[in-house]
């Protein structure tokens, strides 16, 4: 049993080591896997802020992931094609700079999180689950019909965007970029959950009525958390575009939202890096059972059931001492 801090450190170092091993053994796919783990981990950790700590089960987080993805992809797409978007006041030419596209992705997903959150947070419990789903489904169907950017076919950006003068097409370089993002996100989230805000949020999860009588406004607290979470998820979405050089409506679908939730619960909700652990377990299982048998989904399902039944605090709960 470890303290949570040590455990987090081990996990992060472990992921890094995994990709280094991939590099040394000349198995770039290990690095790709690690990158995917890191990116979905970021999205999961962001979801965990509202789900694990704030008790808001958003079944529409794919929306922010997808919006982040689409914004970054569209910007890259225009920069690649050299045509510009006419924005009335000025023409936006798109960009192939990661930092800029991240920024756009974060701003847009933040904006949508603000709009969706301010409506959704009026409801609670299952109704909240479903209203977030509703918004996500609307964007999903919108993206399917939006032929300008590929509709159901999705949008290819062919190459990764640039960051300074790093060759981002090299798997290890791109991994390190994502890893750095993870570290920053981890730091921010850790700060938030240990701040007054974070603890008030935990209070709201359990007992809103009491928090009101303590003079707190649960609505603003939750909305703030929702927006932060949406923004970070958007960033993860932008990174995911760069990983795949491609975006499609799938990343807006309810299955994606569901998978994010699964990562959170699997790893252990209400733990900083629980979702990251969830991502590791899920992706590695998917990968390795998939190589062994064609019916891997069956075995994956079975393992997941066993984990829920016997490790009530998620996989990370196995290692962390309270």
């Amino acid at each position: 049993m470890l303290t949570e801090k040590k455990f987090n450190l081990i996990i992060v170092i472990g992921i890094f080591a995994f990709s280094l091993i991939g590099y040394v053994m000349n198995e770039p796919y290990f690095i790709t896997l690690a990158t995917k783990i890191v990116i979905l981990g970021i999205a999961g950790c962001a979801l965990n802020l509202i789900l694990g700590f704030g008790g808001m089960v958003s079944f529409g987080h794919a929306m922010f992931f997808g919006i982040g993805s689409y914004v970054a992809a569209i910007s890259a797409f225009h920069s690649m094609n050299g045509d510009s978007i006419d924005l009335i006041f000025f023409n936006f030419n798109g960009s192939n700079q990661m930092l800029f596209n991240w920024f756009l992705a974060v701003i847009f997903s933040m904006f949508f999180a603000l709009v969706v959150g301010s409506i959704s947070i009026r409801t609670s419990g299952v109704y909240f689950i479903m209203i977030t789903l509703a918004f996500a489904q609307m964007t999903y169907y919108f993206s399917i019909g939006w032929t300008k950017y590929g509709g159901e076919d999705g949008l290819s950006t062919y190459v990764r965007n640039d960051l300074f003068s790093i060759n981002t097409m090299l798997p290890l370089n791109f991994f390190i970029i994502c890893f750095a993002c993870l570290c920053v996100v981890g730091f921010i989230l850790n700060w938030i959950i240990n701040s007054n805000f974070g603890n008030f949020l935990k209070g709201c999860k359990e007992n809103e009525e009491k928090m009101i009588s303590l003079g707190l406004n649960p609505y603003t607290l939750k909305l703030t958390a929702f927006v932060i979470s949406g923004a970070i998820t958007g960033l993860a979405g932008a990174l995911y575009v760069d990983l795949n050089r491609f975006v499609s409506p799938t990343s807006l679908s309810w299955q994606t939202s569901g998978e994010l939730i699964v990562l959170v619960i699997l790893g252990g909700s209400a733990r900083l890096f629980g979702p990251l652990v969830g991502a590791i377990v899920f992706i590695l299982l998917e990968q390795f059972i998939g190589e062994v048998t064609e019916n891997w989904q069956f075995w994956l399902g079975l393992i997941l059931v066993l984990i829920v039944l016997y490790f009530p605090k998620g996989v990370s709960g196995l290692f962390i001492k309270d």
Binding site: Y29, T147, E152, D153, S248
Partner: protein
């Protein structure tokens, strides 16, 4: 080394399995070909990651297998940009035939519009004057109806786009019944098509139905049942096309897997055979030579199960597209060729492609 990325689990896995099996059958006796296969779960992101894995870790030379246009759109750029070949055994989105075509991308099946164009052509020749056409609201659906209209000389009574994944068509069928159309063309892949045909027949609307082969393929006919009897559909392949290659394929496939081959199996098979044939003429390690070999394979030994086959300048097939009818044969439903449809048909995107 060939990477086979296809859908092996979840909805639509039947198609992927057929492609894989057809392909495997074609290269069964080739010791030089090793297949690495992976399940894309019908998710574009997974497909791209698989492609990366196969290229980077397994060091494959060719990737093939994808069933769906949207997955192809994701994977093909990733593959050809890393200098590998992609051979499409199904799915031919127009972008990849036109603006975004690539010298390392070959399509062994059809350009997406092809079967629909043939259907339009057939409808005209059958004397239909006024069609009711229906497809899901996504790019392939729009391409389909555009393709139909391109070759259909009559007028369009109504054009309906349904929700992707819709399964109840009572409203659309009522609309058809109330219309003045003399024929119905539909493109509704997978379960949508099954539902549509069943409901159409249950509603006893007395109009001729035309569709592309996808909704009348061997795997699906079983599920549709008698509702499909007599429906005309267009296809570049049918199990009763008479040539040596096809007879051998149908026979081998049945004995190897114990079921009738499907359209997808034939496409997988052709893809395998074309690789085999190209490898006989060039080394895969020499990219340029191999590309030439692929391109010239139809004239250098490759025989397609569909008969005549060659590549247009954008590396898409030039082939005949037939009209088939669903019949009952010894208690099983299957297709019979009834007319040749479009001869030596290519695609309209050739001009847009600058390689």
């Amino acid at each position: 080394k060939v990477g086979m990325i296809t859908t092996l689990s979840g909805g639509g896995s039947g198609l992927g399995i057929d492609i894989r099996d057809g392909f495997a059958l074609a290269v069964k006796d080739e010791p030089n070909i090793e297949i690495i296969s992976g399940d894309d779960q019908r998710k574009p992101d997974i497909a791209v990651q698989l492609a990366d894995k196969m290229i980077q870790s397994d060091k494959v030379d060719i990737i093939t297998g994808i069933v769906w246009s949207n997955l192809a759109m994701a994977v093909v750029p990733a593959v050809v940009n890393q200098g590998k070949f992609y051979l499409s055994p199904n799915a031919g989105p127009s972008l990849l035939a036109g603006k975004k075509c690539h010298k390392n991308y070959f399509n062994i099946a059809w350009q997406n519009d092809n079967l629909h164009e043939a259907a339009g052509g057939y409808a005209s020749s059958a004397g239909f004057k006024n069609s009711f056409i229906i497809a899901p609201n996504y790019p392939a659906g729009k391409d389909a109806l555009t393709g139909y209209k391109r070759y259909f000389k009559g007028s369009i009574e109504n054009e309906v786009y349904t929700k992707l994944g819709q399964t109840d068509y009572a409203a659309e069928i009522a609309k058809i019944r109330a219309s003045n159309a003399d024929s119905v063309y539909f493109f509704l892949p997978g379960g949508m098509g099954i539902a549509f045909i069943k409901q159409f027949s249950q509603a006893q609307v007395d109009l001729p139905l035309v569709g592309p082969a996808f909704s009348f393929d061997q795997g699906i006919l079983k599920a549709v049942g008698k509702a499909a009897l007599g429906v005309k559909n267009t296809s570049q392949w049918s199990k009763d096309i008479e040539n040596v290659e096809n007879e051998k394929f149908v026979k081998d496939f049945r004995s190897a897997y114990g079921r009738l081959p499907s359209l997808y199996a034939s496409q997988g098979y052709d893809t395998g055979k074309i690789i085999v044939s190209a490898m006989a003429n060039a080394s895969i390690k020499n990219t340029d030579a191999f590309r030439e070999a692929l391109k010239n394979a139809p004239s250098q030994g490759f025989k397609s199960t569909r008969g005549k086959f060659s590549f247009s300048s954008n590396h898409h097939p030039i082939q005949d597209i037939y009209v088939r009818e669903v019949i009952e044969e010894n208690g099983t439903l299957t297709n019979k060729l009834i007319s040749p449809g479009l001869k030596d048909h290519s695609n309209v995107y050739v001009d847009q492609c600058k390689m």
